[in-house]
Amino acid sequence: MESFVRLTATAAPLLQANIDTDQIIPTRFLTRLSEDGLGEGLFAEWRVRADGSPNTDFVLNRPPWDRAQILLAGPNFGCGSSREAAPRALRQRGFRAVVAPSFGDIFFNNCFRSGIVPAQLPRDAVERLAAELARRGPAGGELSVDLEAGTVGLSGSELSYAFATPPRLRRMLLEGLDEIALTLTESDAIERFRRLDRTRRPWAYL
């Protein structure tokens, strides 16, 4: 797992509610033989017009947001399909954090494993940050996401909000730990459980 501690970077606003993982990366980009290049599919239907030209109305096609590393998003971001390609595509295009009032449950889990912090803030906090970023315009739209401190702040201001992440996932992301290796340290407990469970629920084991 790629580690993340803190980052101050340009934040792109994409505040529409219920942005699903099919929008983050359309299904056709999942038909591939390597996970490299998923970034090509990021918001493909919104970034590219029907004639193949870039949609310059879309925020991620406009400077400075074309180089944003933080996404400021709306409620239920990442709902829908379980595809881990969604956070991977974000990561491959340089994103390290998504700040939103809520997330799709599966997407939220997948973010940590893809080197992305899903920072959940109250809806009014996200709206306040969005309003401040909009007021500053293209020149000064940076946020600071600090996973260690558990804060999202507007750079150059006092405005800062706390967010919580599941402690184990937080630690794995902070330290870049191998999750499978970590679980295998529980091998004795797993073996003990299975020995007993096989007698209770033999049908579960085939």
Partner: protein
Amino acid sequence: LATNQGVVGSNPASRAMTTEPDPRTFFDKVWAEHLIADLGAGAFLLQIDRLLLHDVTGGVVMRELGTSGHAAASPQQVFAIVDHLLTTLPAPGLRTGWTPVAAQMIDETRYAARVLGLTLLDVGDPRQGITHVVAPELGIALPGLAIVCGDSHTCTLGGIGAIGWGIGTSEGTHALATQTLVEARPKTMRISFEGMLPDCVTAKDMALALIGKIGAAAGSGYAVEFAGAAVRALPIEARLTLCNMAVEFSAKYGFVAPDESTFAYLRGREFAPRGAAWDEAVAHWRTLASDEGARFDAEIRVDAASLQPQVTWGTSPQHAASVSGRVPQPEELGDPAQRALAERALAYQQLSGGTRFEDVAIDVAYIGTCTNARLSDLRLAADFLRGKKVAAGVTAICVPGSSTVKREAEAEGLDETFRAAGFEWHEAGCGMCGSGRGRLEDIRVISTSNRNFENRQGKRTRTHLASPLTVAASAVAGHIADVRRMRD
């Protein structure tokens, strides 16, 4: 929680001597049975009974297991299934991927599954089909099992009383390497459909009406138990449809506690226990239902008798309305954010608020997917279609959910009914649910699938979700139709 202590190392006799336990929900019981260790700070290590790997995400999981250097922990509990990438168009010889890369991904899945020693449900195998259709059909999914798959619609398996949920690639690799997952414990919600469903109202309509009412995010963070008289009365295949839609209101888990209908459905299926083992399993499964007085973190009640056939008008499953009505006016929606979403959705769908659904012409009628492609779905549509014709200009497609469904439908002559009405009759697979496969582009589709997201069924394709009955009626009418007005 006293009820969790039975899992690691306690002896049953000491449990029996304790006083009356607190009433527990079905989910509480299944969770407790799978709890290997409390890892602290809200993280729990859970036993995984079945890992299902399909050709899109499963192939990647197996590839990444290889690069991780770990081995598969329990291959006999892992199934690989070819469904997403297969062409469904009937053709001589064995089918393959619908593009050359898709074919290579299927090959990769097939090869990796053989190397790892997994059970593979491949093209040409009479058991092949959509993962969430074949898992119950073959008894791979059983009551009380914890089942994961890199597919959000794994919640479907809740219809037979399993706890199924969708996971990402990394979690899939973890599950393959350890046969466990680390999970946070969700809150519990009970959604009770009281009373009985009116005629022509199906499990799909229950789900769409519910989501229309509570919103696409209402289930976030919850494990949802569907209950109530109308749910109890649903046949197992309809329960699978209802649970399939749980993730469409953002519930990762949706289920119906197992009962006698469940056991009757599963008896004799290939991977279900047999003989004395079956009796032992059923005795155990009978203990799993939520206890009287068990508490849920949230409760929702729905009057089933008031439900009507539904159709979606927008680009979220929450954009659902009664098919007899009209497309809503965005200004009727109180919340400004919802209004903005509705306006965007109507622009994408090329619809105006106030339009009667019956005035919305369709180009394609699609029956298929893990939501609604089981034998009972096809029977429902075929019963309506018998002696009728698909309207001129409408392309109508039926893709059975599994090779078994297809065979059984053909044995009953349903394929002839579909063909005679003007439907294409396909081979089993996921088909055009997550892609238009070059056939659906900038077109209006009424579909039995579960997602009406922008571009989901093809670029600029405008999807209306509905039940198989409503799709069949609309195919014949040439526009979105209320089946109740069209029956002989």
